[in-house]
């Protein structure tokens, strides 16, 4: 296995593979470093193809010395060819939707939690915790239940009811914090210094975030070991976005994937747009904002990986888009109408952003575009309310004929 050390992304100081997340010297984020120099590309491919039907098929590229096991198999979500969506967007032939709703708790968070939990167990932790905007809460509660570990989940009190119910049901200690996500996050950062727990997105963050790389690996494998030309991904803290970049480039550099670094587009809601604003203003830092958007899973006003997300968008010739709540609702509807995939608000942000990019004429019709739809529509039902018409009729044929329009072709 290739995992080597933790290394500060700012100053390069190296640390052992322990529950550390911040550089003592400069407060920069720590990231997992690998030494892939001994990897045989053909053998690595075979190991993946004969590996488990989960993210653990990629364990050679994750921070472990042995392939972990988990009771809730995560990953290998479908990559759906979306010709009707492509047609709507002006004749794009190769748009693919990576539908993360198929994971055990219906979002991409199962990936990061699987990796963080496996590492936490390896390091001997008995309590798992997180600060969450909802999806992470679901995943931590479920995976902790499956593993038989105690868990504490901290959420803002105003989360969608579906996300609160889909967390509490697993028997976690669910703590609603009176404040927004950034307040929850600050509290958990303080608590992580007081309690010897594995906070998946704080002291386990360098490992946790590596789980997102599997979304790049899977897209490559599902495209026949080819790199897409362009990707669109939501941005909250910027962690997923930057780890997709890392994942694609690791496999390109090793020769495991055919192609060059994709053009990276990030997607934010106008009601929580610190990274998109910095992109538009040409800044290399983000000014924190107080979120006010229906895309609550992306409502991080103080994005930890914002500066790196800006670097990725700029260096790949991409962009960071922002879309209004109405555009988000339309994005959800557009995806549902053209692909049969019902996404939560974050996916609405992503699809609405794709629409903007396509409308600017930036996408060649033959390009391969992967759109990361990170979560399930059933978790944010309010966003679908009032977006369609429903007929209520007496149970008679006459009533049907009177009130319900029949298809033109009938």
């Amino acid at each position: 296995m290739a995992v080597d050390a933790l290394k500060c992304k700012e100053c390069g100081t190296k640390y052992p593979l322990e529950a550390l997340f911040v550089c003592d010297q400069c407060f920069g984020p720590l990231e997992v470093e690998y030494d892939f120099s001994n990897i045989d590309v053909e053998e690595a491919k075979r190991t993946i193809q004969t590996g488990p039907q989960s993210i653990w098929r990629y364990s050679e590229f994750l921070p472990f010395t042995e392939r972990p096991k988990s009771r809730l198999a995560t990953g290998l979500s479908p990559l759906i060819h979306a010709p009707r969506l492509g047609e709507y967007l002006g004749g794009l032939k190769n748009v693919y939707v990576k539908n993360e709703a198929s994971n055990p708790t219906h979002s991409f968070k199962d990936r990061v939690v699987s990796v963080a939990m496996a590492k936490a167990q390896e390091l001997g932790y008995e309590v798992i915790a997180c600060a969450s905007t909802g999806n992470l809460a679901n995943a931590v509660a479920a995976h902790a239940a499956a593993a038989g570990l105690d868990s504490y989940v901290f959420i803002p009190t105003d989360l969608e009811e579906q996300k609160i119910l889909a967390t509490g049901v697993y028997g976690t200690e669910l703590v609603g914090v009176k404040g927004n996500y950034d307040d929850v996050n600050r509290l958990c950062t303080e608590l992580s210094a007081e309690y010897d727990w594995a906070f998946v997105n704080i002291n386990m963050r360098p490992y946790y975030s590596e789980g997102s790389k599997t979304l790049a690996y899977e897209a490559i494998e599902q495209l026949g070991w080819k790199v897409p030309d362009r990707i669109v991904s939501p941005i909250a803290s910027g962690s997923l976005f930057t780890k997709l970049y890392k994942g694609f480039n690791e496999w390109i550099d090793l020769g495991l994937a055919e192609g060059t670094t994709p053009t990276f587009h990030g997607a934010q809601a106008t009601g929580c747009n610190p990274v998109a604003d910095a992109f538009e203003d040409g800044r290399d830092f983000c000014k924190p904002v107080k979120p006010d958007t229906i895309a609550k899973s992306l409502a991080i006003g103080n994005p930890a990986d914002g500066p790196y997300a800006l670097d990725v968008a700029r260096s790949t010739g991409g962009s960071i888009e922002q879309v209004t709540d109405d555009e988000i609702r339309y994005g959800i509807k557009l995806l549902a109408h053209t692909t049969g995939v019902f996404t939560e608000t974050a996916g609405g942000v992503t699809v609405a952003s794709l629409k903007k990019i396509a409308e600017r004429g930036e996408i060649d019709p033959d390009e391969t575009v992967v759109v990361y739809v990170t979560g399930e529509g059933l978790k944010t039902l309010d966003a679908a309310r009032g977006t369609f018409e429903k007929y209520e009729i007496e149970p008679t044929v006459d009533a049907f004929n009177e009130f319900v329009p029949t298809p033109v072709t009938a």
Binding site: D24, G28, D182, E190, I202, R205, P307
Partner: protein, 92 residues
Amino acid sequence: MAVTVKIPAQLRPVVDNNATVSVETGGTVSEVLDALYGQFPDLKDRISENGELRRFVNVYVADEDIRFADGLETAVADGAEVTILPAVAGGC
């Protein structure tokens, strides 16, 4: 005038392993930090660079991020609590 500064775990070794430090000054965040650097010289380079806070350091006065107020010039009232925390946490 006294201000309490909460120190994150990563910085406690350079402030004699204290979780909080009391500073006998006030006025602005900048003045509080200068007083702190006076007591603990090793702290300065850890969290600041060229007179500015490093980009992955968050400072709060009475639980509000100083970037929502006046940055280093944010007023610190007598008895207020200043919190220093790593910015790299959380997220999706």
